[in-house]
Structure formats: structure tokens, C-alpha cells
């Protein structure tokens, strides 16, 4: 007899797999909507009280209005000709996830850096939860330090671990 029974239903435990098609439809329309630079009517895709939870430097936006005022508008003020390109997109039940890049022109002040006119890429990762046809939760990582680097500012002040990759520094090697 097998004493070590495998864990069951690991994938579907907290996921309603019958929702995958609906989730996919909402996310695809939302990405098109954002690529069309829509702001005022994006409530079509996001619920009124949805939570946008970003990494440090990006912040947490509670509800549609804060998302529009404190994320979309400053973003469009700093960057123009924005195109969003998902490099991978996954769907499972009520959930979707993607990573990719926005290609844009730095046409306004970004974190104190005056417009350079440079074409840059803004890398991101997203997780979305869709309920009743709308996004209710959005976990996000947007690589603002990478944006600053492309504009000539190293926010890590030379301490980035890329120095290990390039062989400029030797990483510490713990015993365990």
C-alpha cells in the first residue's frame, strides 16, 4: 500500500476552471482597451472597487478612480506612443497572468527626470482575478528601476546584482 498519498486536486482547489473562457475574453478586451489609451470608460473591464496592487515605487490603487488618477494619468503624462506587448499570457479559471513590455517614448517628466524623447521599454508582470465579467484584483510589478536605468539613472547606485552576472563582482558564497 502506498503510504505516501499524493496531494489531490492541487490545481482546481481554489479555481473554477469553467470560468477560463470568460476570463480570457475580459483580459483580451482590457488589453486592447488600454492599448487604445482609454481612461474614462475602462470601468467596462475593471470593477468600481478593484484593487491594483503594485510593487514599491508604483503603489496601491484602491478603486477605479485612484487607478485612473494615480496610475494611468501620470503614466500617460510621462510616456507616449505606448504599445503594450504581452510576451506570455496564461489563463486558469478566474485567473490570468501575463508578462511583457510596454514600448513608449519618454515625453514627460518621470520621477524628476525631464523628458528625453528616448524610446524605452517598460517591463511588467500582471496577475488578474476576474469575477462576473470584471477584474476585481490586479497584482502588478512594473520595472521602474529599469526605466530609470534606460534614462541614465541607476537607482541601485551600482549595487545591482547584474555586477555578478558581468563578473565585475564576486557574489558571496554561503556554506549553506
Amino acid at each position: 500500500m502506498n503510504q505516501n498519498r499524493p496531494e489531490q486536486a492541487i490545481l482546481s482547489r481554489s479555481t473554477d476552471l469553467s470560468k477560463t473562457a470568460e476570463t480570457k475574453a475580459v483580459i483580451e478586451r482590457m488589453v486592447d482597451g488600454l492599448n487604445d489609451h482609454r481612461i474614462e470608460d475602462i470601468g467596462e473591464f475593471f470593477s468600481e472597487g478593484f484593487r491594483w496592487m503594485g510593487n514599491t515605487g508604483c503603489g496601491t490603487k484602491k478603486g477605479l478612480k485612484e487607478f485612473q488618477d494615480n496610475w494611468q494619468k501620470p503614466f500617460q503624462a510621462a510616456f507616449s506612443d505606448k504599445v503594450c506587448i504581452d510576451e506570455a499570457r496564461l489563463y486558469m479559471g478566474e485567473w490570468a497572468a501575463a508578462f511583457g513590455r510596454q514600448e513608449a517614448v519618454h515625453s514627460g517628466t518621470f520621477m524628476g527626470i525631464k523628458p528625453t524623447g528616448k524610446k524605452i521599454e517598460i517591463r511588467y508582470m500582471d496577475f488578474w482575478k476576474v469575477v462576473d465579467g470584471k477584474i476585481i484584483d490586479n497584482w502588478v510589478m512594473v520595472d521602474f528601476p529599469h526605466v530609470a536605468a534606460q534614462l541614465g539613472h541607476d537607482l541601485f547606485n551600482g549595487e545591482g546584482w547584474e555586477a555578478y552576472d558581468r563578473g565585475e563582482k564576486n557574489p558571496p558564497q554561503p556554506e549553506n
Partner: protein, 158 residues
């Protein structure tokens, strides 16, 4: 029975949590680990161990991974969550503070023939630095625009 993409990923995470030294059961030798700025890009298992896994363990001990959600779609899997750890070694020039901190992450994995071939990663290094008292955005982070800034913005994933 053939393992699912997610089973392979979860076994790998458990091995990392145990600080298993040899990760070759879970990653292809030539897998790509591609992360956000500040973390770097590691080409292959040796580079991953030398230039990510070891310095990470050197800086942070008593690591516990609290993944909030996993998702699987074909040969891709993804998750987000945070690692709780103790700052017990130098991190980006900051001497150990022994603070217990949270390190938010998002991971995407592509699995080929039972092992991870590609790992796309975001690790919130600015969140770590914020918890250790450094604001790399120098007051210009967009979290400052939030109506009520969270008590600790680095914990937005918690």
C-alpha cells in the same frame, strides 16, 4: 504518472525552501533566469546558483515562501507571493539588521521535458531596501500619489 507543470514547479520551490544545494533535478542545465533590474539575468544553472541563489541565501536566512496564488496553462506556470526572511547578511551594501522582512515576487516558468527551461522573475528589491530604511526612488515613487499610503508600502502584496 507524468507530472504536471505545476507539480514540477512546486517541487522546485520546496527544494529551494529547504536550501537544497543541487537544483539539477528541477532546472535544465542551460535554463534562463531573467529578472527585473537590480536582480540580473542568469544563463544556466551554475550561474543561477552562483549569482542568485547563493547571494540571496547569504543576505537572507530563515526563508519562508508564502505564495498566494498559482496558475498553470499548458507548459507555463506562474505565481505571486512573498518570501519572509531575516536580513542576516550584507544586502546591497547594507550590513545585517536582523530584521524580519517580506520580499514580494512574481514568477513565470516554462517547463520542457519535466524540467524548468525558462524562469521569468520579478523580485521587489526596492521593497527590501524600503524595509531596511532606503528609498531608492528618493521620495518620487508613485506610491506617494496613493490617497492613503499603506502603512508600509513594501507590504502591498501582504
Amino acid at each position: 504518472m507524468k507530472k504536471t507543470t505545476l507539480q514540477i514547479v512546486k517541487e522546485m520551490e520546496q527544494a529551494l525552501e529547504r536550501a537544497e544545494v543541487d537544483c539539477s533535478d528541477y532546472f535544465h542545465d542551460d535554463f534562463d533566469w531573467i529578472a527585473n533590474f537590480g536582480c540580473g539575468t542568469k544563463r544556466g544553472l551554475d550561474e543561477f546558483e552562483r549569482a542568485w541563489y547563493k547571494p540571496f541565501r547569504d543576505a537572507f536566512g530563515d526563508r519562508h515562501f508564502a505564495t498566494e496564488h498559482y496558475l498553470e496553462d499548458g507548459n507555463w506556470a506562474a505565481c505571486f507571493g512573498h518570501c519572509e526572511a531575516t536580513h542576516h547578511g550584507d544586502f546591497m551594501g547594507i550590513a545585517p539588521t536582523w530584521k524580519r522582512i517580506k520580499i514580494p515576487y512574481i514568477d513565470f516558468w516554462r517547463v520542457e521535458e519535466g524540467k524548468i527551461a525558462e524562469n521569468r522573475v520579478s523580485v521587489d528589491f526596492p521593497a527590501i531596501l524600503a524595509q531596511l530604511g532606503q528609498d531608492i526612488f528618493n521620495g518620487k515613487g508613485w506610491d506617494k500619489l496613493d490617497s492613503k499610503p499603506p502603512k508600509n508600502s513594501s507590504l502591498s502584496f501582504a
